[in-house]
Subunit: 461 residues, 2 copies
Amino acid sequence: MEPRFPPALHQELKNRFAERYSTAQAVREHHGKDESPYDPMLPDAVVFVRTTQEIIELVHACEHYRVPLIPYGAGSSIEGHLLALQGGISIDMSQMNQVLAVNAEDLTATVQAGVTRKQLNQELKSSGLFFPIDPGADATLGGMTATRASGTNAVRYGTMRENVLGLTVVTAQGKVVQTSRRAKKSSAGYDLTRLFVGSEGTLGIITEVTVKLYPQPEAISGATVHFPTVADAVNTVITTIQLGIPIARAELLDSTTLRAINAYSKTQLPEQPTLFLEFHGSPASVEEQAQTVQQIAQEHQGAEFQWATQPEQRSKLWQARHDAYFAALQLKPGCRSVTTDVCVPISRLAEVIETTRQLLSGSSLPAPLFGHVGDGNFHCAILVDPNNAAELAEAERLNEAIVKTALEHDGTCTGEHGVGLHKMAFLAQEHGSDMLDLMRAIKQAFDPLGILNPGKIVSPA
Amino acid sequence: MEPRFPPALHQELKNRFAERYSTAQAVREHHGKDESPYDPMLPDAVVFVRTTQEIIELVHACEHYRVPLIPYGAGSSIEGHLLALQGGISIDMSQMNQVLAVNAEDLTATVQAGVTRKQLNQELKSSGLFFPIDPGADATLGGMTATRASGTNAVRYGTMRENVLGLTVVTAQGKVVQTSRRAKKSSAGYDLTRLFVGSEGTLGIITEVTVKLYPQPEAISGATVHFPTVADAVNTVITTIQLGIPIARAELLDSTTLRAINAYSKTQLPEQPTLFLEFHGSPASVEEQAQTVQQIAQEHQGAEFQWATQPEQRSKLWQARHDAYFAALQLKPGCRSVTTDVCVPISRLAEVIETTRQLLSGSSLPAPLFGHVGDGNFHCAILVDPNNAAELAEAERLNEAIVKTALEHDGTCTGEHGVGLHKMAFLAQEHGSDMLDLMRAIKQAFDPLGILNPGKIVSPA
């Protein structure tokens, strides 16, 4: 199929990229959707790039023809980030997948944006180091940077905000900038690294990422513990955090999620509110942390503390946790998920989760609840038949009500999934219109032609 | 004395602020200088503000008359940030000194920008919490935010970059924005919090700061240890960091600095390269960390490990460290300091410090060397007679050579002091002109009239 965009551009890219330029329907469909419940919106073409230089050429071509560009990592974003609202070119980063440098002495690695988190950790294995940020999917480091992703380890190690040290970015003018040196800290001007982290492809195209690494902990201990109520589980985590215990992972899964996981991962975990915990440190420190948290859990009716000290047991446990979203989808064949992502101060978490559960209990839609409660962040995967308008509307109504509750409790509409299309309407509620004007001013300053992932985060004035 | 700026504005501000508006020479002199070696450049007037609303009024007035505004905290900045290059109004924040909220359960505090770090910790004392960031001076939280400050604890707790959760800012248009809710993480749009952190008054006027707090450690242990050479001390720290030991403070002081401290603080520390160390954690963890580091130090010829376990001993130790800069100034009566602030990846630290020492040894100017070597960051206080042009030129030549060395080793020209006037020339070397163009684009987008601390960080295109 011929793309809608200028035939001259089509010809130019075909000549330049040959078989790495595609307008095939299947390829466009693959690149015009993500894990959001939206119907696909296809790009006109897909280019599989290999170098920063190729991206510069693409930007210059698209600048000339005013054609949108949307960077594509693993396609695992959740809020419609990748949808080609105005057509254009999807830049597939999967062939930019080299780990460029591991500076073990400095605890840093520099990777091309298409490297995935699992690939990086695989390549780090012999170094004694690891990269902690772990969204559910095996996302690319470029995509994780662009959405300011986090995951189960963020309670201890922070999010991409804290763990990106510097970026190589191609600007909307086709310039290449390196946002920072590898020094651990710097106060050399405006923090463009942090500005590009979370910019969702709207301010520049991230081609290389330098991240912090951590020594693999001397000792690791994992555990599951079950509770009669979600509130008991949440209160266990709140107390743990408030005591300053450096817990590495503190994940809540409700009974519906456990049911989904048991079916999907062939586990036999009790189908009741459960915490998945992990402790990192020296053997003495891990022992100390684990004992303290066990005691806190017991004070909140936690039972059946099961330890996973062997690497295989722990891998199985965390793989099951990472698969929770995919497991949830299996609860309702053919469904898609409207996934909420609110995050609130931890003192407000118990009441926000309680209100959320009341909201969900008034709906017929299944909605497993799970998340990173150590950070005050949790998700509901509200499962809908994508062809059923009433279900979609119901899910959006629930999402709105949950966001409203979070905002009323000093929280954010999105803890780690980003804005994309799906959260744009909430940004004004969260930040106010003057903040949005500042964001628009940045977008306008960086991308005056509006060719970088247009229509995401903030709409033009 | 009548101000140079519009008489109508003078009258307006005099009517509005009465005795909190001053054009007195002494007041203007006090607000037209900082700890940099520059000659003072006086603002035309100083306003002592009490509320965000008053700042809005000031901005509207200055917008109307195109008159510069420079926020003033404690006057302890080091790079000429406060100098009124184009005259205008210094906004003295010292009366906005209320701790607005301590949310102990969430480990956050919200303060007015004029609160100082010592004041905040004093008010936190009974809460069991503390705020770790500690530049040498008793700076204000607003100023620390504006310069992206750090200090001795950053190796463990991060800098202002990691510890500011949200800000209230008055924009150049006189709008008030809150950059973030109090949730621990968020991916709700561009990270304006991090953009204002380190913006040095050039993008907006920070009026309130929400910061992270930490539980006072259950156990704390401090120590000094002496080494035959600076290299031995540095290598002790490098090994400690690379092993992932969560050391809370790891400060290097060279023998000249020790001599200055002994004279200034009436201590009797051996005048040789010394590490000041501190360990935070549970009693078991502190014990474990301290033993490991002691062993590492011994492998690098560290001797006379002296422990300071009592709070009074530790306070004295760290007060002496914080006073190092002021102690250094006493080495040369009437001097001022050209203070370097490079930061490099820790694998490069030993050679950069060695090169720096060679550069300094070729000069007749005294230049005590000290700093946060756990972060790869160190300072030389190059002491000059401010009336001696040859000494000033020599100090700048040394500073340039040290910056050049740092940049050649993947470092930054400024780890924590900011750009101000003094580092502007280095920014292009560090970042390249395309990065500076992006910074200029942000400045232009936020402050098109150029009234916010003009002439700092980046000059207009």
